[in-house]
Amino acid sequence: MSANAKTDSPTQSRPATKRASHFRYDVAGSFVDSLKTNGVTYSVLLPDSVLHPINELLLADADVQTVVCSREDEGIAIAVGAGWGGRRSAISMEGSAIGMSGLILARAVIQRSPTLIIASHSSVLGEKFGYHAATRAVTQPVLDALRIPYHVLRDPEEIPHVIKQIIRTMEGQKTPVAILVPPFILVSD
C-alpha cells in the first residue's frame, strides 16, 4: 500500500477520547468486562448516542478486535462472518440497526449463527427525543417477527448475569440474541 494510505487497526487499543461527564463509564466498564469474561473477542459498531461509552471502551480495548462499519446490516454480516471464523462476536448499534437489518438477521437465524446484538433506542422507558420515533417503532417488532430472543436491561447490577445468560442462549440455541439498553442505564440524568 502507498505510504500515505491510512488503515485502521482493530487489533490495537487506542487512547480514549475525552470522556463526556454525563455517561456512566463505570456501567460501560462492567458491560465490556462482562463481554470479555464471556469470550467476546470481536465486535462491530456504528456510533450511537446511548451506547457511546461502551463503544469507546471497546475501541480502546486491545483484547477485543473492533470494526466500525459503514451501515448496520453490513455490520451484522461482518459479525456473522467473524463468528464463522471462530470468534465470539457482538454488534453495538442503535435500534435503527434492527429495522435496517431484517434480511440479514433472518439469514443469521436460518443459518444458525450465534451473534450478540447490543441495541439502544427501543420502545423501552426513558426515550425522550421525537427524532428517534421511527427507530423506537422498529426495534422490538422486528426481533419479535424473527423470534430472536432479547432482554431489556433494567438495572446495571444485572449486567454480568444477563450477559452470561445471553451468551449461553445464543451459543446453545445457535441464534442471534439481543440486549436492549435504555438510556438511563448509561446516561446520567
Binding site: 500500500m1 482493530p10 470481536y42 470494526v67 459503514s70 464463522w84 471462530g86 440479514i104
Partner: protein
C-alpha cells in the same frame, strides 16, 4: 468474455478456498462447475456475501477468503468497500462479475454500470489499491493466481457478457440454506484457519 468461461477459470484457480457467492446465474454456473461441496456457500442474500467474507477474513487472517458478487449486489452495498479499505484484510479477495445488468431478469434490465458507473474506480476511490478490471480470459488468467495468493485486499472486476439464457452446463441448484450453511461452518472448523 462469457460469464461461464470466467467462472470455470475461477473454479480452476480456487481449489478449496472458502467462497461465498451472491445470488444470480453465476451462482448456478459455479455450482455446475464446482458441485455440491462444502467450501462454497451459494446464494447469500444481496448484498451480504462481501461483508460476511470480510468478517471471516478478519477472523481467519491466515486463510484466503473469496466473495463472489454481481454488479447489482455490490452496488447495493458500496459502503463495504470503505470498510474493507479501512481495515485492509489482506487475505480477502472480492470478485465482481459485472455484466452491466440484472441478467436473471434479462439483459435489458441494465444496472448502473451500463450507464458509466465504474466499480473499480469506486473501489480505488475508497482506498483499496489492488483493484484490477479484466475484460478477457487472458487478462483474468494472469490476475487470478496473484489475487488468490498474494496479500490484498483484492478487488477484481470482471466485465462479462450479459448472458441471461441458460448455459448448457447450467444446473439449477436449490440446496437447503440451513444445511449448506452448517456444512460450510463445519468445513471452516475443520480447516482451522489454514
Amino acid at each position: 468474455m462469457k460469464r461461464p468461461d470466467f467462472i470455470e477459470l475461477f473454479a480452476r484457480h480456487r481449489g478449496d478456498i472458502p467462497t461465498i457467492t451472491g445470488p444470480g446465474l453465476m451462482t448456478r454456473e459455479l455450482f455446475a462447475v464446482t458441485g455440491d461441496g462444502d467450501t462454497v456457500l451459494y446464494n447469500m442474500e444481496m448484498p451480504y456475501a462481501t461483508p460476511m467474507c470480510m468478517g471471516l477474513a478478519m477472523a481467519r487472517p491466515q486463510q484466503r477468503i473469496v466473495a463472489l458478487e454481481g454488479d447489482g449486489s455490490l452496488i447495493m452495498a458500496l459502503g463495504v468497500l470503505t470498510t474493507i479499505a479501512r481495515y485492509h484484510p489482506e487475505n480477502l479477495t472480492l470478485i465482481v462479475l459485472d455484466n452491466e445488468s440484472y441478467s436473471t431478469f434479462g439483459a435489458d434490465m441494465v444496472s448502473a454500470t451500463a450507464t458509466g458507473v465504474d466499480l473499480a474506480a469506486v473501489a480505488r476511490g475508497c482506498g483499496i489499491e489492488k483493484v484490477v478490471t479484466v475484460t478477457t480470459l487472458d487478462q483474468a488468467e494472469q490476475v487470478m493466481g496473484p489475487a488468490l495468493k498474494e496479500p490484498g485486499p483484492w478487488v477484481i472486476v470482471a466485465k462479462v457478457d450479459s448472458q441471461s439464457e441458460p448455459d448448457p452446463r447450467f444446473v439449477r441448484n436449490s440446496p437447503d440454506v440451513t444445511e449448506q450453511s452448517l456444512d460450510f461452518s463445519r468445513m471452516l472448523r475443520r480447516s482451522n484457519g489454514q
